[in-house]
Amino acid sequence: MSMPSFKALWRWESMLSLVLIIEFVSFASLSPYFLDVWTLSDATFNFTERAVIALPLALLIIAGEIDISVAAIIALSSVAMGLAAAAGIQTPGLVAIGLGTGLAAGMVNGALVTLGRVPSIVATIGTMTLFRGVAYAVLGDRVLKEYPPSFSVFGQGYAVGALSIELSVLIVLAVMFGLFLHVTRWGRTIYAVGANPIAAKWSGVPVDRYRFALFAVTGLCSGLAAVLLTSRLGSTRPSIAQGWELEIISMVILGGVSVWGGKGTIPGVLLAAAVLGLVNFGLGLLNVPGIVMSIIVGALLISVVALPVLAERWWGRPVGRHS
């Protein structure tokens, strides 16, 4: 990735920041309840859990792969934790089970893609159906909610003042992922793998090992999201987080990550997560139903990829994110 395209990416992030500021100002002027520390803290719950998954998924998409099974992994982890809680296991054990289930599910995806040579979209549509199917098979129409009281701290607790534990987890993870992708050699290698896997392989990059690790980390973070979400809701149904896979992918793409691989940044993904979360929350504050929001998200998604192409066509030179 050359410098000019990095600058272009930076422009994309400035645009997202601008949107975020406009959102802030307009919601603050439209609703007197918006500019309150606790309201804003509440608003973050709209995106923290999804953003926790969007971070590793961004890396995965930059590396040229995709994972559609993330929401199904949440369901699987949540069911595993629910059953364990019903068997009397305490909070630390539950967290370990949730994270472990997520990691194992991610490793299944990684094995299918690297050892099984299955295209990642096929593999993860399969495991999505499988994981969610297992959740349904185990739970049927039952609900699990015998969680120990201390388990609720992850999704409902606050670290300092109005700073929720969920948001602190996201911030820590974001810093880790940001540094990993943008500072370390491994991060650069992920771009190389996504931009041209064959060239990367011939340059001595263990491409399959990177892919496997990224799928495993995505699974682990899905497990973490399952812990946060289950703890916040205090109950598990097999339909938990239904449809989140597409919302999370939208978040990543809006953040400026290219689905062709090789392009994207962590700040962009975070900004997109905040933009979407705030729009959702703000519209709720203004009594606009959430489904209207989906029109905006859909139109944004298409515009994000269409604008650079149109600009190139009209002005005859690449603008924005296309190099």
Partner: protein
Amino acid sequence: MMQTSAARRDLALAAIVVLLFVSVTAAFPKFARPGNLAEILDDSAILILLALGQMLVILTRVIDLSIAANLALSGMLVALLNKNYPGLGIGPVLLIAVVSGTLLGAINGLLVWRLKLPPIVVTLGTMSVYRGLIYLLSGGTWVNDNQMSPQFLGFIRYELLGLTLLSWLAIIGVAVFAVSMRYTVLGRNLYTAGGNPSAATYTGIDPGRMQCIAYTICGAIAGLCGYLWVARFAVAYTDIALGFELQVIAACLIGGVAIAGGIGTVAGVVLGCLFIGIIRNALPLIGISPFWQMGINGLVIVVAAVLSARRREQKRAILETQAA
């Protein structure tokens, strides 16, 4: 080579479906009652039609995630039409369902063809937009069966030779697809465009145009299925067929359609749908909770994907040694 390997795969899938059918029948002779078989077909009809449309799209190396949202929007459109003008009869309903579906599909196709946008992003976007439009169109209200005219509800239930008209539509759809995919220029062009886009370009076939045509046909089918769905379940609301797009893709994958494009047969897709339909119908009989259905589908997709990937690897290995 490709033809024979696809035929072999279809044969294997057919054997599995027959085996499944025979073993369920052996345990529960009532399963093979004509009435029950007709019911399985009636249950699978919409899935079969949608999967055939999705097959076209996947053949040309793209994907349509908006197929269920298109279905729901077109379905809501005709449900509202029928509610407000119950005297119109069935003709205009069918026409408007197909036209609306075609337009919605063409939007996907044009964005992918003309702007060369990534198909996943485009159809993910239109999926959200179409879903949201249903809400704007209906104001979030439901259209219930008592607001639908008798013709609207009765058309697909009309029985002809022991099968419902819905089943006949699926049978006609399969026949049309089987013939046109094999014997028409368009059918062959779709395979070529997906099998090898650069070779297709050199022979004068525009792969992008083929993708656009595939999306448009797929949209038309989704629109028709919108009416079928609303009439069959006698209700229309914002969330009908939510998430069904992934089931349709799953049926294609079970049926042996390759996500990399160019490979897939009508027979395979129909068998894939029947496989799902038989399992769905048999599970309650065997005394297994229908909640297992999804898990079984997932397992089948994963196993089928690994098997076909293995076969592809072997073939590629041969090609590479020859080239070296």
